[in-house]
């Protein structure tokens, strides 16, 4: 964490350079930020310092000392606060994309700055953009890239990125030149090469804008990855085209030879492949480094950022495609890094990366707005600007349609007309174009100002207009959306089976297709790469299916804990008996009949982020001991291959009968409780819980009831401490009381009967042990089992009023009797 903090700070400090270029700007910034007084004081102070340097002052006011970082920090603060404000109104953000709002904010703030100083103090400078704002966004994109989807569509993406971008650049540039020759634009000091240069910088779809807009639209994965992948990979083309034409403009149109053109083509391959190569090398390095960070966990996340940033800088240094380098660094390292670093580090990396990316994005859009408020750069040429807009839109559509037509001959999943519309419409231009155009040298490119203004208009038009309309468009066209489903174990297993089948079919039919290649790659990865780049422990547990299994288990566990908490009990965390600790940890006793895999799962650095995890760490030792016994007991009693194989005696049957009836009742009461629950934002969570309940109902007697029975048992435990806690509140005897209750119950239940049980008929049926414990006595139940399992049926009576409570408080009170009066809080708790 500390390390990351440094990096962040460092990044910010570097950011300061931007306004640093405009020292006179401090005043405007201060005015803008309501720091008039401060600024005035600073000036005064400045004079004071100059005049009397030798007098010792107790308190000195050193504005110039802190000026740059201060302004940067304030800008970041303003942007972040603005984000908060935008999200205050849910309606606004669902209609208008955040990027558009930020641009408006930028325009507004820029207006204020301008009004204050009449100098455009703050602009988005290319250096800041390319060195500090762009890398986090691209790294974020690469590191969280869905690799399978990306590589599955790599061919399509590459075609759009390379051919599409060249097409856009060439057609836009040439058409504009054609119109210019016809004289519609009036006189401009401009040549064919300038037009092509402009075309090349305006052609590229911008990853930042695409991400910002598409993240809110949620189109289906394939469509998203195609548009987004294109925007990432076209960087190489843009860089090359831009550099080539920039160089050509510099040498002059007459001096460009054939060799130069050839060099341009060669440089494309060098730049793109070189960038990719640098990325892969650094990814390898990064993976290797994280393999050995076992003892320096605290700086683990730092490596991820530093090394990927180095890949960016290195390729920038070698004038290769930096975006490609950092993208591929992220893409290639993600698997190994995620396996190697600890779970906490993984969470840290994830959130830091998201934070940096989102912050950078915010700043970019805000500064795009601010940069636009500068009359000096505005040169208006209606024909040029309008035609540019028309051409980029039209040629984008034509390009997409043509390429898709070609692609659909080769693609398995065809891209339909609707997809094409979204793809054409998603061709957003953004800050990359702006930064590139700002980089132009006015001495060489005479009409730089016109280009800058046009670029700004184009960016604003695409981000604001298209960003605004894309959502309704997607809805109107009924584009297949991406749905966020819970991962299902079955789905993953079948998916794995499909993979193997497909590669086998390709083997058998004797062709080299995607599946064949993927299969070979996976084998290679497992045999060589993983061995080199992953920790030994990570190699073991690094199986996707195991991960999903683990995650689902954790989720279940959380929802059960949540259930307990919702019903007002935190006591299971802090109740005195050390046994209670295992309540939190039941997720690990879930994979029963598999001590070995339990430990795998535990080592497994799952990507699930849990606050519970810190807790878990501390409790590992207790848990391990506990697990052994618990597992053994439960296995003995609960986990039978088939219900029919349990030999039942008469007594047991009766017990079972009772148990079943109570179960049913209990579940019903659960359901009715849930109906009363209002969780508008947690519908799926509730649903999940509901499902969990269904499971309990259906499967307790199913052959493989292992986990849910545990969960069920734990459920019962939850309601118990809730009781205790309440009494504790009312009796005021504190923790001691809790301890007493637990102890009391302990002695009571390990002894004879538990009278706390109510039947449908109202008879009091006495239960010696729950059926699963009365089977045989060869195995002594674990501590936990002894304390809690026999003692749990007492909940049933308490759950009965819970159910009634939804209908009428009276009946509930009646049912409970006067001595149960404190429980009247229960109706409230059901509405929590």
């Amino acid at each position: 964490m500390g390390y990351q903090g440094h990096i962040l700070l460092w990044a910010q400090r570097e950011l300061e350079e931007a306004p640093g270029r405009h020292p006179e700007s401090s005043l405007g910034g201060c005015l803008l930020l309501g720091l008039l007084a401060l600024a005035a004081a600073s000036e005064h102070e400045g004079q004071g310092d100059a005049g009397e340097p030798h007098i010792f002052q107790i308190v000195t006011f050193k504005w110039h000392h802190v000026q740059d970082p201060y302004i940067i920090a304030l800008w970041i603060l303003v942007a972040s606060l603005a984000k908060i404000v935008f999200h205050l109104s849910h309606k606004v953000t669902t209609v208008i994309p955040e990027s558009a709002l930020l641009i408006f904010l930028g325009l507004f703030l820029g207006g204020i700055v301008w009004a204050a100083d009449h100098i455009a103090s703050f602009t988005l400078t290319p250096t800041v953009f390319f060195f500090y704002l762009l890398p986090p966004i691209v790294l974020d994109a690469g590191y969280f890239m869905p690799n399978r989807l990306f590589f599955g569509n790599l061919g399509t993406i590459l075609l759009y990125a390379v051919i599409g971008t060249i097409w856009n650049a060439a057609t836009t540039g040439l058409s504009l030149y054609g119109v210019y020759l016809s004289g519609a634009m009036g006189h401009l000091d401009i040549g064919l090469l300038d037009f092509l240069l402009f075309g090349s910088l305006i052609a590229a779809v911008d990853p930042v804008a695409v991400l910002a807009v598409f993240e809110e639209v949620h189109v289906n994965d394939v469509l998203f990855i195609i548009v987004f992948g294109e925007s990432l990979l076209n960087d190489a083309v843009t860089v090359v085209l831009y550099n080539v034409f920039d160089a050509f403009v510099a040498i002059g149109a007459d001096n460009v030879t054939c060799t130069d053109c050839l060099k341009g083509i060669v440089s494309f391959f060098v730049v793109s492949l070189g960038g990719t190569f640098i990325g892969i090398v650094f990814a390898f390095l990064l993976s290797l480094v994280t393999r050995f960070t076992k003892h320096v966990r605290i700086i683990e996340p730092g490596f991820v950022f530093v090394i990927s940033y180095l890949s960016y800088l290195t390729s920038e240094m070698l004038s290769l495609s930096a975006i490609l380098a950092i993208t591929f660094c992220g893409i290639c390292c993600q698997k190994y890094v995620k396996a190697n670093i600890s779970e906490q580090s993984s969470t840290t990396v994830r959130y830091t990366m998201k934070m940096l990316a989102s912050g950078a994005e915010t700043i970019i859009f805000m500064f795009l707005g601010i940069s636009a408020v500068n009359p000096q750069i505005w040169t208006w040429n209606t024909a040029f600007i309008l035609l540019t807009l028309v051409f980029i839109s039209v040629y984008r559509v034509i390009g997409v349609v043509l390429q898709t037509w070609v692609l659909n001959h080769y693609r398995m999943v065809q891209l339909g007309i609707i997809d094409q519309v979204v793809m054409s419409y998603g061709g957003l231009r953004g800050a990359v174009a702006f930064a590139l155009v700002a980089l132009l040298d006015k001495n060489k490119v005479k009409e730089k100002d016109l280009f800058v203004s046009t670029t700004i208009i184009v960016v604003f038009f695409t981000v604001i207009f298209q960003g605004l309309t894309i959502k309704p468009l997607v809805q109107w066209l009924k584009v297949k959306r991406s749905e966020h489903r819970e991962p299902k174990l079955n789905e993953k297993l079948h998916g794995r089976a499909f993979d193997h089948i497909l590669s086998a079919i390709e083997d058998i039919s004797g062709q080299i297709g995607h599946n064949y290649l993927r299969d070979k790659w996976i084998n290679f990865d497992r045999k060589v790469l993983s061995k080199v780049l992953m920790r030994r422990s990570a190699q073991k547990s690094r199986d996707q299916i195991l991960n999903v299994f683990h995650q689902l288990n954790l989720k279940d566990a959380i929802s059960y804990v949540a259930e307990g908490e919702r019903r007002g009990s935190l006591a299971f965390i802090r109740s005195p008996s050390s046994d209670n600790m295992v309540n939190v940890n039941f997720n690990t006793s879930r994979p029963m009949g598999m001590e070995a895999s339990v430990s795998y799962l535990r080592e497994n650095a799952s990507s699930v982020c849990l606050d519970m995890q810190a807790l878990e760490q501390r409790r590992k030792s207790i848990r391990d001991r506990e697990d052994m016994t618990t597992h053994h007991t439960l296995h003995q009693y609960l986990y039978k291959p088939s219900r029919h194989e349990i030999i039942q005696n008469e007594d047991e049957k009766q017990d079972k009968e009772i148990f079943q009836r109570t179960m049913r009742k209990r579940l019903e009461s659960f359901k009715s409780t849930k109906l009363g629950v209002k969780h508008p934002k947690k519908i799926n969570k509730t649903h999940k819980r509901d499902r969990g309940q269904k499971r309990v109902r259906g499967e307790c007697f199913m052959t493989l009831a292992h986990t849910d029975v545990i969960c069920f048992l734990l459920d019962m435990e939850f309601s118990e401490p809730e009781e205790n806690e309440y009494e504790h509140l009312h009796t005021g005897t504190g923790i001691d009381f809790l301890a007493n209750v637990t102890k009391q119950n302990f002695t009571e239940t390990s002894g004879i009967d538990n009278p706390a049980f109510s039947d449908d008929d109202g008879q009091s049926v006495y239960m010696r042990f729950p059926p699963w414990l009365s089977n045989e006595d060869t195995v002594v139940p674990s501590q936990r089992a002894r304390v809690q399992i026999p003692y749990s049926p007492s909940n049933f009576r308490r759950l009965t009023p819970l159910r009634l409570s939804n209908k009428s408080v009276d009946s509930f009170l009646l049912a409970d009797g006067p001595e149960e009066r404190p429980r009247s809080f229960l109706p409230e708790s059901t509405h929590m």
Partner: protein, 214 residues
């Protein structure tokens, strides 16, 4: 090869039946001959000669599927000893990609057929149900590629998956009910809402076969 060309009517017939183009059929026929060693039928041993298949953890199941009479649409159960080219094509046709001009109903049938293939692969005793034992076996095989995973974890994953299946299919089970196994209807339920567009399709190209397979 020459003789094959002369039987173009036959090819046409096969094309109609299986939906492959004649180019693809020709290509697959070449491959079939290569595998069978110029015999009219192919048997299990022939599949063992494919080197790339060796690493496949569920290869025995896949090869078995080729001889499964249910997949061949010949009988509700049982295994064939050897299959001819037409059968080979029938199996291959399970993996044809979706075509653009299919309507909803066709798509649905198409999808069902593909899932049926998978279902049959799981249901090794032909009783129309994937029992826990069968499921465990499949999962064990699926995960056998990873040497670090033990059988026990595979088992528990299978158990978990089975429970999930039960909760999806028979949400409201009576307590004394026993979930016997996944039927095909249940299987479809599990797959509900999941795209298999990209999952169960192979692009049969008209390109050259991998030259040296033996």
């Amino acid at each position: 090869m020459g003789s094959f060309h002369s039987r173009s009517e036959e090819v046409q017939e096969l094309a109609d039946k299986t939906g492959f183009t004649s180019d693809q059929i020709e290509h697959l026929h070449r491959r079939f001959k290569q595998l069978s060693g110029d015999q009219p039928t192919i048997c299990r041993e022939n599949f063992d000669n494919i080197p790339d298949l060796e690493l496949n953890p569920i290869r025995s199941k896949i090869i078995r599927a080729f001889f499964d009479k249910r997949n061949l649409r010949q009988a509700p159960g049982g295994l064939a000893d050897e299959i001819n080219f037409e059968d080979f094509l029938t199996i291959m046709s399970y993996f044809r990609p979706i075509e653009m001009d299919m309507d909803e109903e066709q798509l649905d049938r198409f999808r069902k057929e593909k899932l049926k293939f998978l279902f049959h692969m799981y249901d090794s005793d032909h009783d129309g149900k994937i029992t826990l034992q069968e499921y465990r076996k499949v999962v064990e095989e699926l995960l056998s590629g990873n040497p670090h995973l033990e059988k026990e974890s595979a088992r528990s994953i299978a158990d978990g998956a089975m429970m999930e299946a039960a909760s999806i299919c028979v949400g409201q089970m009576e307590p004394d009910q026993v979930y016997e196994g996944i039927t095909f209807e249940d299987f479809l339920k599990i797959w509900q809402g999941i795209d298999i567009e990209t999952k169960m399709h192979v692009r049969f190209l008209n390109m050259e076969t991998i030259p040296h397979c033996h």
